[in-house]
C-alpha cells in the first residue's frame, strides 16, 4: 500500500475515536497481512473507489461495540440493537470519510460506499490479492482494528 495513504487513516481513526469516544487511546504497531484474516465479531465494511480500489474494514468485539455505542449515545445500551448498529456504522463512516478528506487534500481522489455491517462469530475476511494494513487501537472499551486494503487501479 502506498505510504502516502497510511497516515491519513491512522490520524483520522485516532482523531475520530478521541473525539466521539474519548478516554485513553493507544495505537498498536501497524503491520501487514495478506489475503485472509479472522475478524473479531462486529465488522463494518466501507468500500473505496476512484483512483484506487479497496475497502476499509473496522472490526471489534461485540462487548467493545456495545460499550462504544453506549458512550456515543450517552446512555447505557443493554443489547446490540438497531441503535447500536447504526452508531457503529456511523463511526466507521466518520473514520473513513475523514481519511478520504485528508487524502483529497494530498491530491488523491477516493469515493466511498455506504457502510455495511456484518456480525457473527468465527468470521473471516478474504481480500483476494490485496495486502491489508492493520491499525490496532486500544481503548478503555476494548480493542478496535482498522484494516485498510487498497490497491492502485491497474
Amino acid at each position: 500500500m502506498r505510504v502516502e495513504y497510511i497516515n491519513p487513516f491512522v490520524e483520522s481513526a485516532f482523531n475520530v475515536l478521541k473525539e466521539v469516544v474519548g478516554g485513553e487511546l493507544t495505537r498498536g504497531d501497524l503491520y501487514l497481512k495478506s489475503t485472509t484474516h479472522p475478524v473479531l465479531g462486529i465488522t463494518v465494511i466501507v468500500g473505496l473507489a476512484g483512483d484506487v480500489e479497496g475497502s476499509v474494514i473496522i472490526d471489534m468485539s461485540e462487548e467493545t461495540a456495545l460499550a462504544i455505542a453506549s458512550v456515543m449515545n450517552g446512555e447505557e445500551l443493554s443489547d446490540f440493537d438497531d441503535l447500536g448498529k447504526a452508531t457503529i456504522s456511523e463511526l466507521a463512516n466518520m473514520i473513513t470519510a475523514q481519511a478520504v478528506t485528508k487524502l483529497y487534500d494530498l491530491g488523491f481522489k477516493f469515493d466511498l460506499t455506504p457502510p455495511a455491517m456484518i456480525t457473527g462469530q468465527n468470521l473471516e475476511v478474504s481480500n483476494a490479492g490485496v495486502e491489508t494494513l492493520i491499525v490496532p487501537v486500544d481503548m478503555p472499551q476494548g480493542k478496535i482494528e482498522i484494516n485498510v486494503a487498497i490497491r492502485e487501479r491497474g
Binding site: M1, R2, V3, E4, I6, N7, L30, L32, K33, S34, T35, G129, V130, E131, L133, R151, E152, G154
Partner: protein
Amino acid sequence: MDTAVNQTVLEEAGDLQQKIDFKMVTFRLGGKDYGIDIMKVKEILKGNKFTFVPNTLPYVAGVYNLRGDIIPIIDLRKMFYLPGDVKKHKAQEEVIILRLADDLILGIIVDSISKVQGIVSDTIQPPHPLFGDINIKYIAGVVEYEKHLFIILDVERIFSETAESFEQIQPTGEKEKKGIIKKAAAREADYNFVVETLRTFKSFYVSDLNRKWVENRFKEWRTFREDENKPIQLADPEDAGQYLEKYFSPYTNMLWGADYKENLLKLMPDPPEGMFNVWNPGCGRGFESYSIASIARIKYPESPFKIWSSDNDLLSISAAPNLQLDRNEIPDYFFKAQLIVEQDKGCKFIDAIKANIIYEYHDLTHNNELPKLDMIIARDILSFFDLSLQDHLLTDFREHLKDGGILILGINEEISGHGWYRLEQGNIIAYKKDKT
C-alpha cells in the same frame, strides 16, 4: 465358476479379518515403506509452517501449534540420514502426530503417508541385522503384505532416547569417517555454526545465491579472528553484523555515485514503447529508488517511466517520499541534470522525479501486484528470506519481467540455472531474462 471364486475370496477375506490383530499407519520414507503401530498415532495432518527453534538438533524441524498445544516436529528423513524428497515452495509436509508413553505428543515428517494397513501380528518377523538404513534397535519388526515389505518402527524407543545418544542413530560407517577427518570436521562445524548464527542473529540465509561469498568470507574471517585472538564463532548480533559488513553492494543507503550511474546507463535498454517500469523492492529510505529514477530520467528524457518501490520497514519507507538530503552527500551529476533543488532546510528531489516513484509499505512475501516490468533492482534482499522464499521470489521476479528484462542483484549474489543470461557491467551484476 464365478460364484465359486467369489466364495473363496470371501472366505479368505473372512479368515484374514478374523485374524487381523495389528493395524499400522504406513508411510514412505526415502523410497521405502514403513509402518507405525496405529495405537501410537494420534492423528495425521498436513502442514508447512513450523516455527524454527534455534539451537536444537538438526532433525528438529521446529514446533507446531496443534490447536493450542505446542508440539515438536521431527524430520524423520534427517533423523535417519535418508535422502529427502525435495518439496516445492509452500508444499505441505505430511506429518504423523504420535502419542507416546507419558502422554508425550510429537509430530514426525515423512515423505508421504500411505494408508492404514491391518495385518496379522504373527506374520511380523524380527528385524534382520543387515537392515542398514535405520539402526536395528529402532525396528520393531518387518512384515510383508501384498508384496510390499514394511519396516515397523519402534517409535517408543526412538523418541525415548535422549538427545545425547543421538549419535547412535547414525549409520556406523559415518562414525569411522569422522575420526579420520576430525580436523576438517571441526572447521566445518565452525562454518556451520556461522551459517546458523547468521540466520539467528541477522536472518541471513545461506544458499546457492550467496554461498560463494559466505565461504570466502569465512576464510578471511577465520584469519581475522585468529589475529584478534577471538573465537571464530559469532557470539552476538554485532559479530554477525561485522561478518556481513562487506556483503552489501556499493552505495547501499546512499545516492549512487557517477561510476555506478554510468554502468546502469549501459544496462538500460533503448527507450521502450510506452512506460518503462522498474521494480525496486527493499528500497529502505529511498536512496536507491531516487538514484534509479534520476538515471532513468537522464537515459529517457522524453519517455515516461515509473519506479515501484516497497519496503516492509514502515519507518524507513515513510521517510522516503519526503527525503531530505545534505549538500555533501549528493554526487554532482544530480545537480548537473537539475534533478535536485537546494532549499533552506536541505536538498530535495524535484517533483518530476518524485511523481515517478510509488512508495509502498509492502511485504514481499505477500502477493506482489505489478505491471510487466523492464527492470527489477533487488540488491541484497533475497538473502534475508528463507530458502523456499528465495526460490519463490526469484520465480516471481521472472514472471513479472518482460522477455529480455533485466534483474539486478547485489554484488555478492548470483543465480545460476537456465533462463538467465549473466551480464557484468563494472560493479553491477545483472541477469537478462532469456526468451526461452
